[in-house]
Symmetry: C2
Subunit: 361 residues, 2 copies
Amino acid sequence: MHPVDDRTGRRIVPDTSRRADRLPGSRYGTRPTMKDVAARAGVGLKTVSRVVNGEPGVTPDTERRVQEAIDALGFRRNDSARVLRKGRTASIGLVLEDLADPFYGPLSRAVEEVARAHGALLINGSSAEDPDREQELALALCARRVDGLVVIPAGDDHRYLEPEIRAGVATVFVDRPAGKIDADVVLSDSYGGARDGVAHLIAHGHRRIGFIGDMPRIHTAAERLRGYRAAMEDAGIVVEGAWTSLGVTDPERVRRAAEEMLSGPEPVTAIFAGNNRVTVTVIRVLAEQARPVALVGFDDIELADLLHPGLTVVAQDSALLGRTAAERLFRQLDGTLLAPERIELPTRLITRGSGELPPAD
Amino acid sequence: MHPVDDRTGRRIVPDTSRRADRLPGSRYGTRPTMKDVAARAGVGLKTVSRVVNGEPGVTPDTERRVQEAIDALGFRRNDSARVLRKGRTASIGLVLEDLADPFYGPLSRAVEEVARAHGALLINGSSAEDPDREQELALALCARRVDGLVVIPAGDDHRYLEPEIRAGVATVFVDRPAGKIDADVVLSDSYGGARDGVAHLIAHGHRRIGFIGDMPRIHTAAERLRGYRAAMEDAGIVVEGAWTSLGVTDPERVRRAAEEMLSGPEPVTAIFAGNNRVTVTVIRVLAEQARPVALVGFDDIELADLLHPGLTVVAQDSALLGRTAAERLFRQLDGTLLAPERIELPTRLITRGSGELPPAD
DNA sequence: CTGAAAGCGCTTACAG
DNA sequence: CTGAAAGCGCTTACAG
């Protein structure tokens, strides 16, 4: 048995071999370059370049000699240098809120697949919902000369990107619109989705319906609140102040908001949850309630069908959002796009039980 | 109201402004360089470099003139060129299986945070569990001259990375060990976790226990099966062939495997699910069964506590895996590490009900 | 305090 | 079919 670190519980298995054969010093200094390959093969630099890039005009014999030198030296073309000369980096950037959020995983993967189909790599970073960090990340990606940028905005002012866009960086915003600049944007229909979801609750007899959403400065949160208000107004219901709560989506805040709505002489009989994080906490709160409370959540959630009752949601397709945005980005890079557009993807109401509960009173 | 595309349901809102002010042609040709800034400010190239990089030895007046030129031209340093000269790219690569898998989201985010703390960007890509694609991706990242590579192996032969590692690319493997090369690896204790989970089922009276896992060539799947067998053997139970099933983790295959184990004259009374994807499908199958069947799953799952019964799991900390690996990577880059190590992180059994159900017979 | 020259590792445009 | 020269946009090493 190997020793276990008391503090971390890790088991450490030291390896007997050494790392001594790893070359020290500069990362590059130790790597063979085309020049080295050329010298060893006894040919010119350009001939090596031809072989490496599979260009025509090299005799089989020369090619063989070059290839042998490549293999012997363990040469791998430095794409960084290539990129500097060629102009395009064949990489795109994705700035999102948090890679650990299940909403962004499929989105990021979809962007990656489109990039891959176009031979590009994806660099991504999380803004953590911090506008300064979003800007810092986006500009760092521009400094690396990504060909394009997919941005899920944390901030509401993207004028800092204007010089980059003018310089040719393709840019598409997803999930939320760009602020104060004119750019392509791909959104889900937050307003319509929320309106449908709340109308569904109203159709099942509810009138005192609560809304818990993200911070009001976030576009989707504002739009979903607007959808909620529209549905209520359509039904002739006057929304009371105590029924709506917007703010950060950490469990403590959401729990407090939900518990407040559910207390007092006239508690809400249903809740509309503004996104997946809100929904998860509200489910926990409702599980503790004596009487059943109806719930519709924005965003679908894994295992939603296995809850009791099943969770009714307004689903958006995050992978489709990502794919649509990335395809649009590459069309910008192809030069086939002219005017910035706003593309809105429809949402889908999925009924599973929680949204069809009647009012408890 | 705007027109709606019949096929996709998208609402298209054409923008009235034009993209005509976007400069055409090469990505780089249009961007100002230090040379342009120097010309405009009437100084030498090196002075611009000093100002851009905040180096000392520039009079306030000169600095102001340079800064004005920078702002006027919208100059942003080309880090691609900088990197070529400096040697380090300040970027690391992460090759994982699927960014859309909830297990890898937190892992990737954790790697990103460590990279950020070291001033590095993260390029990541999904291998889709395809060894060829893993290799292609890893080598593409090396060609971009990432300083280091965190790899979640899809294949079992990583000798293709030997020249890169020799050339100085820091490399850490996570979740599964490297194949046929000697390298740092950070793992969860799959064997111990599975053994604990199965022992837990045995302690609750089960003897006919099924195991459904991923493809046997995947290290974690093999280790968890080994843990299952060890627990069974410890209890003196002879495992029947029909009780174990390894293969792809798509819902169809897992469903068939589960249903087979649960049919016949002597069905299993409990199932150990080899990972989160297996668990999700098994939960669905069990929900359809007439009699209760106990379940313990490897990997925790969101909302596991809200299922009926709550889901008992062997949890691993995917964020910690990522953080540990990334920290090790940067220690390699600091030059403070000598011998490759294998670090094993402990798992944790979380009991919530499903694993404590008694045998139905 | 300031800047001209050389070079990072490739590709481009050209000549032989 | 092959290769020498120039250049991508920076930094390094050096001189003034």
